[in-house]
């Protein structure tokens, strides 16, 4: 039986005028590390709030750990840990007081489950007497995770735990999640950073309240429909402008030190034809090579598909 299951969940705000979630269905297995990938406003937080029983869906059915989010919300609240996107601990209680408070609320003690949080807590222990409101961003994040774990939840919900966090702390955080997964905890984590998708077992790409794709990161990448090429030259912004003028290209997007392109009709000699067409522009150190798409390439492709079908009124 899946540990988290959603069937046709919808949610609107402003008396139906703002659509937050459209007909969402998926499930997460016990012990799975599942990622919800999408930008701000995609509907990630609404989904978290429904699953943690803080918000009622307009329609649909959802269960967590076998319990219904509407009928059996009390059971769910005992069994889940939730780290909201916005820092929600008591700012004027110390690190230690916050942790003790959450342990007590869940009828347990810090001592009982200390082994689960030990790796994380030792990093903030030097500041245990400091009010939570006076901690740095990275420290707040670690304390919030400790508080969400202190009752050893069956399912852990993490809403954008790495937003605004630098790349070093982000890598550390994902290592912590792998350890928690090894403890058998089911984890649903959301992120706007596409490069974190590959760290999840399965992901759902979400945009405008709809799930665009759901699978393992490898499968999603395999479903990318066109051969993808990376191209660069000495002057990248001129190259970008030139590429956008070319009729034979289907898509052109900048990706750091390369631009990623696809052809309207991909043929064996397409790259050579492109180089010929660019000849007049005299780009220095022009380089073009086939590449494997990343999750961000897939997300952009699916977004353009979604935009097109919405324009066509489907």
């Amino acid at each position: 039986m899946p540990d988290v299951s959603l069937e046709n969940i919808s949610k609107t705000y402003n008396k139906g005028k703002t659509i937050a979630l459209r007909d969402i269905s998926f499930s997460i297995e016990k012990g799975e590390l599942f990622g919800l990938i999408g930008p701000d406003g995609a509907g990630k937080t609404s989904l978290f709030r429904i699953l943690t029983t803080l918000l009622l869906p307009d329609a649909g059915k959802a269960t967590v750990n076998g319990y219904d989010v509407v009928q059996q919300y009390r059971e769910i609240r005992k069994r889940v840990g939730y780290m909201p996107g916005k820092f929600s601990l008591y700012q004027d209680l110390s690190v230690e007081e916050n942790l003790n408070f959450f342990a007590t609320v869940f009828n347990t003690t810090v001592k009982e489950n200390y082994n689960l949080i030990q790796d994380i807590y030792v990093q903030i222990a030097p500041f245990k007497n400091r009010p939570a409101g006076k901690l740095s961003g990275g420290m707040k994040q670690k304390l919030a995770l400790c508080c969400a774990l202190i009752h050893r939840p069956e399912v852990l919900f993490l809403d954008e735990p790495t937003t605004g966090v630098d790349t070093v702390s982000r890598k550390d955080f994902w290592q912590m999640l792998q350890k928690l997964k090894a403890e058998g905890i089911t984890i649903l984590v959301s992120t706007p950073y596409m490069d974190e998708a590959s760290l999840c077992e399965r992901i759902a790409l979400i945009q405008n309240g709809s799930i665009m794709s759901i699978d393992t990161p490898q499968q999603i990448i395999q479903m990318y429909p066109d051969p993808l090429f990376a191209i660069r030259a000495e002057n990248m912004s001129t190259l970008l402008a030139d590429l956008r003028q070319l009729q034979l290209l289907k898509s052109v997007y900048s990706f750091g030190d390369y631009h990623h392109i696809t052809f309207v009709q991909n043929q064996e000699n397409s790259p050579q034809e492109l180089v010929q067409q660019l000849a007049q522009a005299q780009h220095l150190q022009l380089e073009i090579k086939p590449i494997t798409p990343g999750i961000e390439d897939c997300f952009i492709y699916l977004m353009t598909q979604q935009n097109e079908s919405q324009r066509n009124g489907n």
């Binding site: 961003g137 605004g164 630098d166 790349t167 890598k171 952009i300």
Partner: protein, 248 residues
């Protein structure tokens, strides 16, 4: 970009809070029309440095000129010659698009025909004319961020400071946002930008990396990758930030 005209000049700039050196003895220059990436781990001192450069915080020691003005004495002149935008502070949600443009345009010293012309210009470029009377709160995040950036440069400042301007926006909007940045830089506006997206570090002409209050590296992305013998800016960042002693 040649000959290079210096628009930000920093020498031995230091900021101390009590016994703590938030920024320690940093020196660098930024040139006209340059996109300058100002990177660093959380707590490395970026925000403190930006606040000094914007005339919002008095340095403990050192020398700095921004747009030709002194960061100790001419803070009001600095504010009039720069633009600023961050993910957290951008626009007034309960004012309309048009009201926000007029309000900030006025704050930045525009009025009359000049303000009118810039307003029309801006609405047209962002295709926001049909939505000019909508509350900013009702706009999608991506539109808000693009509007906020355009408003931050409505007075054609010498330099615009962007503090994590693309946090949380979708990948297509993020690229459209960088198109706006390039366009501004091509017009001669210097762009001073912080970001946590390492692909965006590649879009900068030069990048500096702050570690423990100091500038640990400063060069073009290509040179930095060469120097640290790695394939991506993410790896450059990782190597440098890993060496940090400070725990925020």
């Amino acid at each position: 970009m040649s000959p290079k005209e210096t628009v930000i000049s920093v020498q031995h700039l230091t900021k101390k809070f009590g016994d703590f050196f938030a920024v320690y003895n940093i020196s660098f220059e930024v040139y006209k029309g340059e996109i300058f990436g100002f990177l660093g781990a959380n707590g490395a001192g970026k925000t403190t440095a930006i606040r000094m450069l914007c005339g919002l915080s008095v340095p403990t020691s050192g020398v700095a000129q921004v747009a030709g003005f002194d960061v100790y004495k001419d803070t009001e002149k600095i504010k009039a010659n720069i633009g600023y935008m961050s993910q957290k502070f951008s626009l007034y949600e309960d004012l309309t698009v048009l009201e926000n443009i007029r309000f900030f345009g006025g704050i930045y010293g525009l009025s009359g025909k000049k303000l009118q012309a810039q307003t029309t210009n801006l609405l047209e470029k962002l295709a926001l004319a049909p939505h000019k009377n909508k509350l900013v709160a009702s706009l999608p995040l991506g539109w808000k961020q693009k509007l906020a950036f355009s408003i931050a440069i409505i007075h054609e400042p010498v330099i615009v400071f962007l503090d994590e301007p693309t946090g949380g926006v979708d990948p297509i909007t993020r690229r459209q946002f960088w198109d706006l940045i390039y366009e501004a830089a091509d017009r001669g506006i210097t762009v001073f930008v912080t970001t946590h997206y390492m692909d965006e570090a590649e879009y900068c002409h030069r990048v500096s990396m702050m570690v423990d209050g100091k500038i640990a590296a400063l060069d073009t992305p290509a040179h930095l990758k060469n120097q640290y013998k790695v394939a991506s800016m993410d790896d450059v960042f990782y190597q440098l930030a890993r060496a940090a002693q400070r725990t925020e």
